[in-house]
Amino acid sequence: MKVRKPYDLPPEQQRERDRAKRLEWTTIGYQVSVVVLLAFVLGQSQAMKVAWADDLLSLIPPIAFLLAIRIERRLPNERFPYGYFRSISIGFLCASLALFAVGVSLFVDSVAKLVTLEHPTIGTISIFGWQVWLGWVMIAALVYSIIPAFVLGRKKLPIAQRLHNKVLYADAAHTLQLPRQCAPPGYPTLLREIVALKDARPYGLATNSQTLNSSLFSLVSLLTVRTVKYN
């Protein structure tokens, strides 16, 4: 079989690819810092444990991207006469599987919460002699786990479109969709939840019905978005 001539992207796309690489390395560094930070403030909250697991899984798409574009550039040979371009598809499979796992864990966690009406016990920690409610620290850590990811995602998305790279696209899109689609209906829920966390006896569904509604709404929109975007 005839081995095809080597091919690389035109110079302009090569520059885009280099930018994407830098962004993905930044993402990995940042994501590792998120995982370490969350590990310190997990506490007794099941939701925080799920968030932590999801952030760990979110490390897979950038790693898949970096590996895939590295393998992609290998020269065609006897065994692979058309080159290694399909490595992108394998990377995409890995990335989308990881993101699917994130979606499923969020879904399972949300349903479990609806059923059990989990209300985690969160006490204080001592920071330089200050007695701070761990809940505030958790919220700060979660904000840190969302906002830089959103900024990185916004930078990655146009590059992914110009490079026609679906691994990068999946990685960028999932960080954007969560705040964009779920946050607007989620804000009032979030505020109510924080107030409730500070002190309330979670008995009785009546007071929680609104919370349940908006959680369900967030959930449905999240799943819809995921399904549409990645398939």
């Binding site: 007794q44 016990t121 006490g123 204080t124 001592s126 007695q131 966390l197 002190d199 309330a200 006896r201």
Partner: protein
């Protein structure tokens, strides 16, 4: 309505207590002990009165789960079975760390290795740790302050009774209280109180030894 609000409005703080001297005990139908005194002043700070109900640890944890008591005490540590799992009730941050040491009666030689030696203990709970950690032979004694053999006690108790401390120490114990699950405003208030009164807890323990 959260527990904190309920206590402040009703003026009553319902405490479940398991007897565990010197932390909690009943003297002539009246509750006393280090944790009892701490909770009395906590209730006072909230403008409420502490009402004590005695029970076993499983009963009290179940009562906390059902919201029938606002706080459960009984000299618990963060390793106490039933409390440490945090299934029925939540747990405060440790507010005090104590450590048992082995002491000898006045005039007796001290030692560093208690293995094989007979050591007097006041409660069964302490003997398990002693046997496990040090290989000593625990002997349950009613009043260890007048025992005629090495004893296991807090350092200040040894000092008060005139015993000589040896180099043998049991593992640290981190003391906690239990609260209903998810009552975070209440938990935060209690933890802050215990933090600011940590010296008070030590002082009370000291006085108990006298």
């Amino acid at each position: 309505m959260g527990t904190l609000e309920q206590v402040q409005k009703s003026g009553t703080m319902r405490v479940g207590m398991a007897v565990n001297d010197p932390w909690t005990r009943i003297d002539e139908a009246e509750a006393s002990g280090v944790e009892v005194e701490l909770l009395r002043s906590f209730a006072e700070e909230l403008g409420a009165e502490a009402v004590f109900a005695q029970g076993t640890v499983p009963e009290l944890l179940e009562a906390a789960k059902q919201g029938e008591v606002d706080v459960v005490v009984g000299g618990f540590t963060d390793a106490s079975p039933g409390v440490r799992e945090q299934q029925e009730a939540g747990m405060t941050r440790p507010y005090l760390t104590t450590r048992f040491v082995v002491g000898v009666p006045p005039g007796r030689p001290t030692f560093d290795d208690p293995s094989g030696k007979k050591v007097a203990v006041a409660s069964v709970g302490r003997s398990a740790a002693l046997r496990r950690e040090e290989g000593a032979i625990p002997v349950p004694v009613k009043d260890i302050s007048s025992a005629d053999m090495p004893v296991v006690a807090y350092p200040w108790q040894l000092e008060a009774w005139g015993f000589e401390p040896t180099g043998v120490e049991l593992p640290e114990e981190k003391h906690v209280m239990a609260v209903p699950l998810g009552e975070n405003g209440w938990l935060v208030r209690l933890e802050r109180f215990l933090y600011t009164h940590r010296d008070e807890a030590k002082r009370l323990l000291w006085e108990e030894a006298r």
